[in-house]
Amino acid sequence: MPRTPIDLPAKINEIATHVELLPEEAASPFAHYNRSANDLWTLLKYFDRKLHETTFRRTVAAGHMNRLHSMVLVSLVESFERFIKEIAAVCIDHLAACVLDDRFNIFTVKGTALAAHFQSDTVGKSLCESDTWLDCDEINKRFRRILASPFSDGTFYLFPKAGRQSPQSEQFRYIPLTTIFQLRHTIVHNVGVITQSDAAKLKLLTKQDVASPRVLTPVRDDLHYLKRFLDETAEKVHERVKDRLVELLDELLRGDPNLFDPQTKADAVSRHFGASVTIGGATGVLPVT
């Protein structure tokens, strides 16, 4: 039977209209990350329960579960990427009206992208959203500049490399995070096939033989450990960025006591980070849960 003709381009357009409101916790990058990452974990558990209830063919189910694991891995990494991007945007929003140097030149926003953000989004979002945040060196470079003291290059490294970058206690995250970004790349761009060049990079990063061509099939414990690593990294990032932003705002306020109202700023920063902070002697008040 011939297929009924359908206006497929119109159907594609419709996809963009099938939307939901953002969850409440989206106002705080860390809570937003937690919610999304937890949703992905409970999605797996939900399907475990559902599969157990059915008499579905186990081999078929196992094949689908492998694919679901890969999809969840990618979504976990992308939740983390969005968290990094959102927390950078929050920092820029709090600093934009307080600094005169060229720190924001680290971003390469084109006019058309900026115009698209002009009506509703913040300065931070307009600068951060057009770039990807999936490279530790690039992320380091951006945060170092965003959170630098006025007219300096900055010394804040979000994911410090072994060697000269500090703090030393955080250096252990650089390689595993780079490996995670590479695994994501393999799944997203090669549908999970480890190509020869992927294998070469993974071999260098993990210091072990990685076969190619092979299809990556992450198991449940892989996802559990990956999520736990990203969760703990997000928590540390959240804490370090908050502390550095508060330190920088304090420094700016000391240079010009009329730069902003400390209480208003402390309240706003507290709200974005979900924790009370003190700026210029004023302690931020959190909204009641």
């Binding site: 969850p23 409440e24 916790e25 705080s28 809570a31 937003h32 937690n34 919610r35 990452a37 937890n38 949703d39 974990w41 409970t42 558990k45 939900y46 475990d48 329960r49 157990h52 209830e53 059915t54 449940r220 414990d221 559990h224 450990y225 999520k227 736990r228 969760d231 703990e232 928590e235 979900g274 849960t289």
Partner: protein, 218 residues
Amino acid sequence: MPAVSTVHVITWGTAGGAPEIAELAGTPDQHPDNLVREILGSEFTKLPYPAALQKADLVICRAGGDVVVAERDDQGEILSVCDARTDEIVHDLLGNKELFLPYFSISPGDLATWIEQQDEDCWWSVDGDPLLMGRLHMPCPGDELSAELRSIDKVLFLLDKELSVSTAGQWKSAEALDDLATTDEYGFRLFQFCWRDRPENDWILFEDEETSDSSSGP
């Protein structure tokens, strides 16, 4: 597949309030879009069945926006439950009625106490609650969950697994939770809650045994 002749809607009015049971007009087959055929064609889990509804072949319950459809077999046992939260057909059938399932009341502090009394190697996950899922990394050990629960000044509603018609928001203590837990197909404990100020948003707390071993480290 048993023949379905009647469809009953169970209505709890407000959370924990007295239930009302009403028979829908017409036979299920007359409802739009073959609702019943849709439901009976799927695979479902078992659900305790309220004694007051033994005569119904099909029961539709709604807790806020969460609609479930339960089917009964020849012996009166529940065969299946369909989570019809997003099912427009079921929504059309129920109209704008505000229906709630029967809940007990419990303080988050009492739930925290119960969690602390469990094996310390036991980990937990929450599915569906924006509040806890925005604050914790799931799965999490009991002490992290209980500390977070103690910081929340709200009342929890716990779904009565028996769906008893006499359940109307009675307060329960930590000691009662052993008996109020249900178990999933793997034998892990599971509770269905909602916050009193958000009855439309049901969520579950479950024992995340699968990761307990690996979470404890080598």
